[in-house]
């Protein structure tokens, strides 16, 4: 282990020390030749594996130094073959492990043979462009195995836009060390080391970036790199830094990069999972900077500055600090005057205690997931949400959230799970959801909530699915507009302490599944319009204190399984008509105080098991059953089970069990 002190001249240095595991070049690798700045040469150490042939292909552009006419270039394949290839044509070669002589291609301790490929322009010429993104003509559709282990490049005449090294072809995926001795004044270093998955040692001091405008993706997906030296030089003229260090999960420190004139910085250090500190400057010129710190799991400190006044509206600043799970504070004020999207800005920051300050958010339309799973957050920040359209999951999973200020949600259309599982909130301010089409799961699992806030809704609302379920301690729910709501699925399930529910307008509700399931304290079932209800499974299941129910209109019901099961204090079921086609499994079962059921028309297998029906009332229940074939009615554990007249039912085609 080597202890290194990070910090080079320039603003500001990182303050921590870190331990890097230095890469040690295996002693049995072939020695790389010395390459100098005056050389025009590329040298690659290539592995040849025993299990498959190794294919090499690349295209170099070699031109006469004086006339710029295309010439030829020479490739020494390292196995005794030397080839001259025309300018701008592919050089390709196949190595076979068994054919390689050990003298020229000694076996390494890792089991592969090795060759040194040397590529040079013919005399009087110079390389002007390199292209490693070629397909071997005999194997166009083959994904090439990683095989270049080390590369040295000195191409002093490659300049302008013609520098093209790394990228998605995985050509250098196994390369451990790369050295750039010399380039001309290139204008783009885009993707230079992108997808050098195994890179552990890099020296790019010889890259001339003085004319460069784009270094985007330069180190993206360098999975093994722990340290990148300060070889960028002055980058104040460079405009594009997008994805620059994206997905360098082993990177321990950031080299110094001047981004003061950046136009693009998105994904800048995303997925740098071991980085503890980062100094990042987003200038006012920057148009895109979303997801800069996303998944920087070890990040403990952020310095720098963030000016969002140049951000392109459509991209916003989404996921900026998402999943920075070690970061406890973001001590910045973000001016969001031109920002439309803040979604997931701080999502999954489990230890965030102090949220950043956001000002001028009146143009932000998307706040979705902004603080999702910020489990340490106790106070929600003040925000101008007057233009919010999407607030889905905005504070979902903020288990320690105790204070929520007033938010203007009057424009919000999507409010799904906005305060889902906010276990510590005891009260909310009132909310205006008058534009909302859904408030599904909005206050789900708010275990300590006592008073449900006054909420304003409108006919735009179509769903209150899981609105308040598992919010055990809520004592009251005020009326709100539900005229066009179609689903009450599990809306108040497990609200143990609610003793009443408003007479909501439920005329368009089709899904009542679990709507009032297990509300132990509900004394009277609300007079809801159930005429459109098709799914009423577990509708009022286990309402153990309910003593009366209205004559619900169940004319549209298709499934009434467990609908009125386990209601021990309900004595009388009024004369409700039940469609004979509606599933009625266990509809009244275990309601052991129920001594009269006037329901008419049951035509599917059903149960009044464990009720309180005497002989006469069981006979009456049989009288009201539909005529069927192959259906069963369970009547066990009723006072009249043994003495009732079962022939009333069997005469209608029923099988009676008891």
């Amino acid at each position: 282990m080597v202890k290194l002190k990070v910090g080079q001249p320039g603003p500001p240095t990182t303050s921590y020390t870190y331990e890097r595991t230095p890469w040690v070049r295996p002693s049995d690798w072939l020695t790389m030749p010395t390459v100098t700045e005056t050389d025009d040469k590329v040298v690659m150490l290539v592995a040849v594996y025993p299990d498959a042939p190794t294919y090499e292909v690349f295209r170099f552009y070699s031109q006469d130094i004086n006339t710029n006419v295309g010439t030829t270039y020479q490739v020494d394949w390292g196995d005794g073959n030397i080839e001259t290839v025309d300018h701008a044509l592919d050089a390709y070669h196949t190595y076979n492990y068994t054919d390689l002589g050990l003298a020229s291609a000694p076996v390494t301790s890792e089991g592969w043979k090795q060759v040194l490929i040397t590529i040079t322009p013919t005399e009087g010429s110079s390389f002007r462009r390199l292209d490693y993104h070629r397909s071997h003509p005999e194997f166009i559709n083959i994904t090439f195995p990683n095989r270049v282990k080390e590369i040295i490049i000195s191409t002093p005449y490659v300049s302008g836009p013609h520098w093209y090294l790394g990228g998605s072809r995985n050509f250098f995926g196994d390369c451990k060390k790369a050295t750039i001795i010399k380039t001309g004044a290139i204008t783009t270093a885009y993707n230079t080391f992108n997808s050098f998955y195994s890179l552990e040692e890099v020296d790019f001091e010889g890259m001339d970036l003085s004319a460069a405008t784009n270094i985007s993706g330069m180190f993206s997906s360098c999975y093994k790199i722990q340290e990148i030296p300060n070889h960028f030089g002055d980058t104040s003229h460079i405009q594009y830094f997008d994805v620059l260090f994206n997905f360098c999960p082993e990177l321990l420190s950031l080299p110094e990069v001047d981004t003061s004139n950046a136009l693009g910085m998105y994904y800048y250090i995303r997925d740098c999972r071991k980085l503890k500190e980062a100094h990042v400057v987003v200038p006012s010129t920057c148009r895109r900077c979303e997801r800069i710190f996303e998944n920087c799991h070890s990040l403990e400190k952020v310095t720098g500055s963030f000016d969002f006044t140049g951000i392109t509206i459509s991209y916003g600043v989404v996921n900026m600090f998402a999943a920075c799970i070690s970061l406890k504070e973001i001590p910045f004020t973000f001016d969001c005057s031109v920002v439309e999207r803040l979604d997931a800005f701080c999502s999954n920051m489990y230890w965030l205690e102090t949220p950043p300050t956001f000002i001028n958010t009146s143009n932000v339309t998307n706040f979705s997931s902004m603080f999702t799973s910020c489990t340490a957050l106790k106070r929600a920040p003040e925000l101008d949400t007057s233009s919010a359209i999407y607030v889905n999951d905005m504070f979902s999973g903020c288990a320690n959230l105790a204070y929520v200020p007033e938010y203007d949600f009057s424009s919000a259309q999507q409010c799904i799970r906005v305060f889902n599982s906010c276990w510590s909130v005891t009260s909310y301010p009132d909310f205006d959801f008058s534009s909302a089409t859904t408030i599904e799961q909005a206050f789900y699992n708010n275990r300590n909530l006592i008073n449900f806030p006054n909420i304003t809704t409108s006919t735009a609302l179509t769903s209150i699915k899981n609105l308040l379920s598992f919010s055990y301690n809520v004592l009251s729910v005020p009326y709100f507009e539900t005229a066009n709501v179609t689903t009450f699925y599990s809306a108040f399930r497990y609200c143990f302490k609610l003793d009443s529910l408003p007479n909501f307008n439920t005329s368009n509700v089709t899904d009542f599944f679990y709507a009032m399931d297990t509300m132990y304290n509900l004394k009277e079932l609300p007079n809801w319009d159930t005429s459109s209800g098709t799914d009423l499974r577990n509708f009022a299941y286990a309402n153990i204190r309910a003593t009366s129910m209205p004559a619900y209109d169940l004319s549209s019901a298709t499934n009434l399984t467990n609908a009125f099961r386990n209601m021990p204090q309900m004595r009388v079921v009024p004369a409700i008509n039940i469609p004979s086609s509606a599933t009625a499994t266990d509809i009244f079962r275990d309601s052991f105080g129920m001594d009269r059921i006037e329901a008419v028309g049951i035509g599917q297998t059903t149960s009044v098991y464990n009720c309180n029906l005497g002989e006469d009332n069981l006979n009456y229940f049989f009288d009201n059953l539909a005529t069927v074939s192959g259906k069963t009615v369970a009547i066990g554990l009723n006072p009249g089970t043994a003495t009732c007249d079962r022939t009333i039912a069997t005469a209608k085609g029923w099988t009676v069990s008891g």
């Binding site: 369970a634 009676v656 069990s657 008891g658």
Partner: protein
Amino acid sequence: MTEGFYKFDTILLWGPNFVESPTYALYKENKEDYTYPVDGWYWFESLEEAQNFFGIEPEEESEIII
């Protein structure tokens, strides 16, 4: 005690003491006399035995999903 006549028809049906249909009748006291199944009905000594026979998972309580 959960002994009784059991039948699986989408759901598990149970008659602890009797089953009467328009065409047959089963009574607990005569349970040894029948050749099972009778219209799908079997005699089992317990609910678990019936569930095992029909390959039915025991009912589980709902869990909170966060």
